[in-house]
């Protein structure tokens, strides 16, 4: 999978890295059981602080997407796909309810945007 970060972007680097991994799992670029680059290696090649990558990996661990094991690095969890399915299911419920209320697509997207903190 491709990791790309923009050091000039407003979004914190750790969040950017975590988002990349999430996208990678959703697209199937990384599959359950696959090992991600070690935090040290990723920090080196992206030229970012080691703690930035560790923070991103810890975030993904808290989201139950990856497992962090001492000496073994970060591994995509076997049930990582299920988390995506949960999201998709929530989205379906949302869309169903919105349609029932007669909302158009643009209005649904507007609500999604409002929901962001």
């Amino acid at each position: 999978m491709l990791f790309r970060v923009d050091v000039a972007a407003a979004e914190p680097l750790a969040d950017q890295i975590a988002a990349q991994v999430r996208g990678g799992i959703m697209r199937g670029d990384v599959t359950p059981g696959e090992r991600l680059p070690s935090a040290r290696e990723l920090a080196e090649v992206l030229d970012v602080n080691l703690h930035t990558v560790l923070r991103a990996y810890a975030q993904l661990r808290d989201e139950e997407l990856i497992e962090l094991r001492r000496g073994r690095g970060a591994v995509v969890r076997g049930d990582a796909d299920a988390t995506r399915l949960r999201l998709v299911e929530l989205a379906r419920q949302f869309v169903r309810e919105a349609r029932r209320q007669g909302l158009a697509e643009a209005e649904m997207i507007a609500i999604m945007k409002e929901a962001q903190p």
């Binding site: 999978m1 990791f3 696959e34 992206l46």
Partner: protein, 312 residues
């Protein structure tokens, strides 16, 4: 293409040796020959001489017929890729026919040399020499075709902004290579258990190869392209960014790259785990390096983008 027929004829030579030596030796051979030796060197298993000979001859004949069929079928079809398939079959058949002939000669001469207490000893080398017959067949079969690939079109670079940084990483798994190496390890183990205990050492080779090539990590980043093997992390290849001229995504036919696994050919090398999409790097020294992976466009575009950042 005629060379293929010559190679097929060579596959039959060990078969002829098995047949001819029978005519010479059958009068003097005992009805049962030692076919397995213990670690002390003393024989611990005996088989019917005729049965043993017939089995080995049959295997040799099957190998010979395979070789002949492959050569004749290719002469009819005439495509270079098929000729490469035929070459693979011929080399395998040559090694198999040679191996059974070697096994026969080793066992028979051991029995003839000392019927009371046959010892294998150095005669095991007949078997090794027989296996090496595959190399003779390989020389006779001619070179594998080296199709001239069109000049590298390269790929469009990834749209990396000046403040953006990117790295690519993927893990390759090869059920094919793992399966084949495990199967060959099992085959050698069976031979070790029944014929020649010395083969236990040989069984470790495919096992190690399977563990090494079963899982490979490929990274493309500002350091260049890196291949690190398997569970223990053996570095297989590192191509610095500055050595790369262009990167492209191409479809690879394993037969055009000399087969599966880590292949080294004149002017190019490749890690071929399957046919299909591959990342192909054209290096500044004129060499090429290829590795098969899914969606090779991504690392190719990344390497191209990273490379354009290097000040000339």
């Amino acid at each position: 293409m005629r060379r293929l027929l010559a190679a097929a004829a060579l596959v039959w030579l060990p078969v002829a040796v098995i047949a001819a030596t029978w005519a010479m030796w059958s009068g003097e051979l005992p009805t049962r020959v030692a076919t397995h030796w213990g670690t002390s060197g003393a024989p611990d298993r005996f088989s019917s001489t005729t049965g043993f000979w017939v089995t080995l001859l049959a295997i040799g004949i099957v190998a010979g017929l395979t070789a002949l069929t492959a050569a004749v079928a290719t002469l009819r079809a005439g495509a270079p890729a098929e000729a490469d398939v035929a070459r693979f079959l011929l080399i395998g058949a040559g090694a198999a026919a040679g191996a059974v002939a070697g096994m026969w000669v080793a066992t028979a001469t051991a029995a003839l040399a000392n019927p009371a207490d046959p010892r294998l000893g150095w005669r095991f080398l007949w078997f090794v020499a027989g296996l090496a017959w595959g190399l003779v067949v390989r020389a006779a079969a001619g070179r594998f075709s080296r199709p001239v690939l069109p000049a590298a079109p390269g790929v469009d670079p990834l749209d990396l902004g000046p403040t953006e940084r990117a790295a690519y990483s993927t893990t390759l798994r090869s059920p094919l290579i793992t399966g084949v190496t495990l199967a060959s390890a099992a085959l050698v183990a069976v031979l070790a258990a029944t014929v020649q205990p010395g083969l236990w050492l040989v069984a470790a080779i495919p096992l190690l190869a399977g563990l090494t090539f079963g899982r490979i990590r490929v990274t493309a980043d500002r350091r260049g392209l890196r291949l690190v093997a398997g569970l223990v992390g053996v570095p297989l290849k590192h191509i610095p960014l500055t050595d790369i001229a262009t990167a492209e995504a191409a479809d690879i036919n394993p037969l055009e790259w000399g087969g599966w696994g880590y292949r080294v050919l004149p002017g190019r090398a490749a890690l071929v785990l399957r046919g299909g999409p591959a990342l192909v790097l054209h290096l500044r020294d004129g060499h090429r390096f290829a590795v098969t992976l899914d969606h090779p466009r991504t690392p190719a575009a990344l390497l191209t983008a990273l490379q354009s950042r290097i000040p000339d």
